[in-house]
Symmetry: C2
Subunit: 346 residues, 2 copies
Amino acid sequence: MSRPTIADIAQRAGVSKGAVSFALNGRPGVSDRTRERILRVAEEMNWRPHSAARALGGARAGAVGLVLARPARTLGVEPFFAQLLSGLQAGLSAHAVALQLMVVEDTAAEVEVYRRWASEHRVDGFILVDLQMRDPRIAVLEELDLPTVVLGGPGRHGRLPAVWADDREAMLSIVDYLAALGHRRIAHLAGLPAFQHTQRRIRALRDASRRLGLDEAVSVPTDFSDAEGAAATRALLARSPRPTAIVYDSDVMAVAGLGVAAEMGVPVPGELSVVSFDDSVLTRIVHPALTALSRDTFALGEQVAGALLGAIADPSTAQDLRTATPRLTVRESTAPPGLGRPTKSV
Amino acid sequence: MSRPTIADIAQRAGVSKGAVSFALNGRPGVSDRTRERILRVAEEMNWRPHSAARALGGARAGAVGLVLARPARTLGVEPFFAQLLSGLQAGLSAHAVALQLMVVEDTAAEVEVYRRWASEHRVDGFILVDLQMRDPRIAVLEELDLPTVVLGGPGRHGRLPAVWADDREAMLSIVDYLAALGHRRIAHLAGLPAFQHTQRRIRALRDASRRLGLDEAVSVPTDFSDAEGAAATRALLARSPRPTAIVYDSDVMAVAGLGVAAEMGVPVPGELSVVSFDDSVLTRIVHPALTALSRDTFALGEQVAGALLGAIADPSTAQDLRTATPRLTVRESTAPPGLGRPTKSV
DNA sequence: GCGATTCACTAAACCGGTCTAGCGACTGGG
DNA sequence: CCCAGTCGCTAGACCGGTTTAGTGAATCGC
């Protein structure tokens, strides 16, 4: 016999299909003695549930969906995303829930996938990332009425629960640190302007600069790519006077910027301090190692997974979850401005 | 009405469920006129197939499985893996097939997931990566009798079809290039010794060294992490005489090695040439930019996806597919040995 | 012109579970 | 002692598709 069904078990145990179903799912309706016998038979026959059959009856699909609208080729360069994925996996697989992943070209295609997976009962919930300014996906996901957790906040995300860290507070801590070192001309290589967190960081930097009486900070939007990171750094360093510190919204851009500084003969951290908003192995393997905001992206992924599983189990409990504010890890790429060529002993 | 079923369409079009099924799946059994009418009604009602119901009847699940046995946290640091994933996605989503991804702790758990997904009809096929020396997973996948494509070869992988690039040839081209530059002491930071491709590269390096009359090459096994890459580099550079060139099995390790060289005051490429076996954005954003083997990992992913979809459509057509041999991209990290401190103009 | 074949379509079984209605036996309260 | 309620279980509908057997009508061959 290829694959035993509950009917086979029922026959062998001398009970009905219904009794087997009750026993296997731990619900009332059978006596303890019978339950035990059924479980033993199921074990003997090496029975496994048929996920499709379960899903047909309106039950769980046993998977959650994550759809990313990016050019597929750029996925590989983002340590942040890869770490997040790892954390999600860890959180989900502990509960034997799989992750359906799909990368699409644009937001329209993304919405299409949401609709398809929902209508096909393929997933029990969604994870929404890369929140945009007026995000059209929120209305769609609300309409589909499947549990969804948004990564990012505290911006508007309709009735969907969110998991977020305080970007604003994080940016303020960076500016405070740089100002304490004596920096007055701080530049910012931002990400895609359509993203909510990009705008929040830009605003936080501007506010902090005013409060501390620094020069007006410039924020340059980019597409997060190493190419734009390098180009924008080149442009900033060609200015006069040039900034004494640059804050990068991603570590890939920060590393690219480091390369440009070396190429242009600008010593880091002697004449330019570099701070990355993301921390990953990248910031540690370059020289000088980068001062960076450490957020535990892996843990973040786990928390998102947990929040989503909770929302699936009981949608009424869903609520926003604020995670620990990222803390600044000081390494070798920051120093007081105008030190000139650093010596090894400094 | 929440979700139209074929019964709804049948009623509206005034035909039977069976006729609707025939029409929607493009199989004979209905006239062209009727087929067209049914399709129009389905379109109007915005009908979508219920994947679970389909799978129940023994049809396709519409997803393929990829299971990785690694500590989840290390997933994030591998550009190779992320690129591969992107390519897989691209190849699969073009055919509306989803990727079911799961990261587990060890091979035993991995095998367990294969069994579960197969018995639950959750996937139509598998992708097997990180081929080991005597890989226990092959027998399991053959037994499960689901289409599977192996990434890596041409080692033993039973009856399963494989997609592979010629690692041996690639390593030979690196050694030829370094030997032509004048290097005679070449070291190799290898990956996990249990992997087939690690052994193939080690053997290729040794063979090439003998053939070219170079000093016996040393291959140091690592776990692919930046930490071991740095530690092993430090040990190699402390030797006397130290190697004049190091070949790294991954770009993360190569970048880490670059940092160690800088820290120890060994100029690259003046006194040490560095070659990476993997190419990604990483190799381009560091200074000096790394000479690396360029394989189009994204395209590789697409090819694997294509091979698997082909095997699912018709298992008898499955056969090994050898992809283009990676070519060496020469950048700034390689030069003739013993040049001393390089000048900008060289 | 008549049987054989083809065609378009219907009715119903089927996949493997879940879930509800109902039934007989037992228990408890008054 | 009788009726109501609970317990343990069964029979069978049901989810939304696919697939097969069968039916009536049209077409074909000779």
